[in-house]
Amino acid sequence: MTTVSAPAPGKRRPREIGRAPQDTRGNWRTYLALTAFLLLSAFPLYWMFVIATSTDEAVSQTPPSVVPGNQLMTNLREVFTMQDVYFTASLINSFIVAAVVTVSTLFFCSLAGFAFAKLRFKGRDPLMIVVILTLTVPNQLGVVALYILMGKLGWNGTLLAVIAPFLVSAFGVFYMRQFILHAVPDELVESARMDGALTLRVYWSIIVPAIRPALAVLGLLTFVATWNEFQWPLITLNGTEFPTSMVALSDLASGNYVIYRRVLAGAFMATLPLLVLLVMGGRQIVRGIMEGAVKS
């Protein structure tokens, strides 16, 4: 990026100047820099895998080993059988929590997004502004009171405590509203109503089919975010038999004597589902992030 090599005079193509960057072909330096950046991004993940598959000796040697070993199964067995960590249960818990939160977010946010985008009712615009304002509230502010609230409800230490606060998201409502606004023509909704369809019917047979791509995007983003949630689950679930995988990871890394290959074997297991999601739905995740940027 900081190479200041002057271009050879013969190679200079004047017509490149003044062309928008997105119409300019990337040259070898572009690819080189991008490849370097990608390697740096991927390296910690690769190295996590290396240590997860290694023996203690391989982990502590200098220079560090950068080739995967063959101890993955041994290390994983230790992770899954470790006392008071409940790693198997934690993976299942994380799946339950992330799935419930995702389905609920998709349903409630698309309902509200539909109402804000296509229905006329009193107070619609001020209420939408309220939704946008809630986006900016730092969630950490309420953590202490949330803990007390969950205590009164008797939910601390249960999965309910980590599901309930995330059932809806302001971003989800906002994202759905923007998408429905542009993706569904007003006439379609109007004519369905003229035919006597109830609002719920319009939602189900017209809106939902039209917003499938947006549902995929929001679903992926929500699943990833919920799976990775750490602070609140740590506060409410720590020390119970129902940790999420992030809490179990922190248990795995706690203690006076930490075994790296075991910790990172656990970290690898907790990361794997998201890597699968990225490979399958990466295009949608990219789209969600980029669309969210333009519209906000």
Partner: protein, 331 residues
């Protein structure tokens, strides 16, 4: 065999459009549907937000003004501003505030600058567009808990890869390795590295998306001035994407000042929540956790949350203002 009175045959006949006059008994129902259903549709969001979002924030203010200890439920009653007064004289708080700001600056400035460079690289005609864009998101989908544990090993004193790499370029001696966790500056760098690693790609995509909505003729006009790619980036692209710059600066201020996961798991024993042997990298969010759930003093933790909220508001505001001005004050 009687006529079925229950099934109104009207329903099966497609109504003409527009309906001349809907049947009486359906009329009120449709009116109810148009008038009330929108509120039914938006109510789940507002109800759930009121209970789990708004109420805790308001109630947090109440808790901050009370004595509220988890280990001593009998100790109750109003404390007035005692929690806040204690805060002002609390060395731990000021130490954590300094750490939070130090790490915040070390992580935000390089993060956004490098993201801008990466976005500029991605904003070309490339082979395998999707591959590159998905690739830069690898750190974004990786759980912070998992990646921080990798970095904790990476920055370990004995046999750590960071020390080995430094020794290769002659900055470090493997017989007398650097203890990254021992000092403020080194632990801050280590934690900032983790934050930077995680968020550069994400921010790059935000910038890229803004860059692609810049009208192309802007660049053509600039060709008259003979602006090369580098000047093009700073003179045209950056000013044009200023709203997104402000957005990411505010976003990283809100996120950076609440930093919790990385400092927590960088600890050799995360359960301690001290942020190093001498709290050299303890952030405010971490201190709140320690005060609330290790020292079991929820009232004081709540007061600290308010202080953090105020700080975030001020910093995000100042940063938004500065970013706005930097780009030429194009409001």
């Amino acid at each position: 065999m009687s006529l079925t009175r229950n099934a109104p045959p009207v329903l099966d006949i497609p109504e003409p459009r527009p309906p001349a006059t809907p049947p009486k008994h359906k009329l009120w129902f449709y009116r109810f549907d148009t008038k009330r259903t929108p509120y039914v549709f938006i109510s789940p969001f507002f109800l759930l937000f009121a209970v789990f979002g708004l109420f805790p924030i308001i109630f947090n203010g109440v808790v901050a003004l009370r004595n509220w200890r988890l280990d001593d439920p009998d100790l109750d009653g109003w404390a007035g501003f005692a929690n806040f007064e204690r805060l002002v004289h609390d060395e731990d708080f000021w130490n954590a505030l300094g750490n939070t700001f130090g790490i915040f600056i070390l992580s935000t400035v390089p993060q956004l600058l490098i993201a801008l460079m990466v976005a500029n690289l991605l904003n070309r005609k490339l082979r395998g567009t999707t591959f590159w864009r998905v690739g830069v998101l690898l750190p974004y989908v990786t759980p912070v808990a998992a990646s921080t544990l990798v970095f904790a090993v990476f920055f370990s004193r004995d046999n750590g890869m960071a020390n080995w790499l430094l020794s290769l370029v002659g900055f470090n001696d493997m017989s007398n390795p650097l203890d990254w966790r021992a000092y403020k500056w080194s632990s801050w760098i280590a934690i900032a590295t983790m934050v930077n690693w995680k968020w550069i790609g994400y921010n790059a995509l935000l910038y890229l998306s803004a860059m692609q909505s810049i009208p192309k003729d802007v660049y053509e006009a600039a060709a008259v001035d003979g602006a090369g790619p580098w000047r093009q980036l700073w003179r045209i692209t950056v000013p044009m994407i200023q709203p997104v710059l402000v957005f990411t600066v505010v976003l990283s201020s809100i996120g950076g000042l609440q930093l919790f996961n990385e400092p927590m798991l960088f600890e050799e024993n995360p359960a301690a929540a001290t942020g190093g042997s001498d709290s050299q990298w303890q952030t405010i969010a971490q201190l709140i956790y320690k005060v609330g759930w290790k020292d079991l003093d929820l009232g004081y933790a709540a007061a600290m949350s308010w202080a953090l909220f105020l700080i975030i508001l001020i910093v995000a505001g100042i940063n938004a203002f500065l970013t706005n001005r930097l780009g030429g004050g194009r409001r």
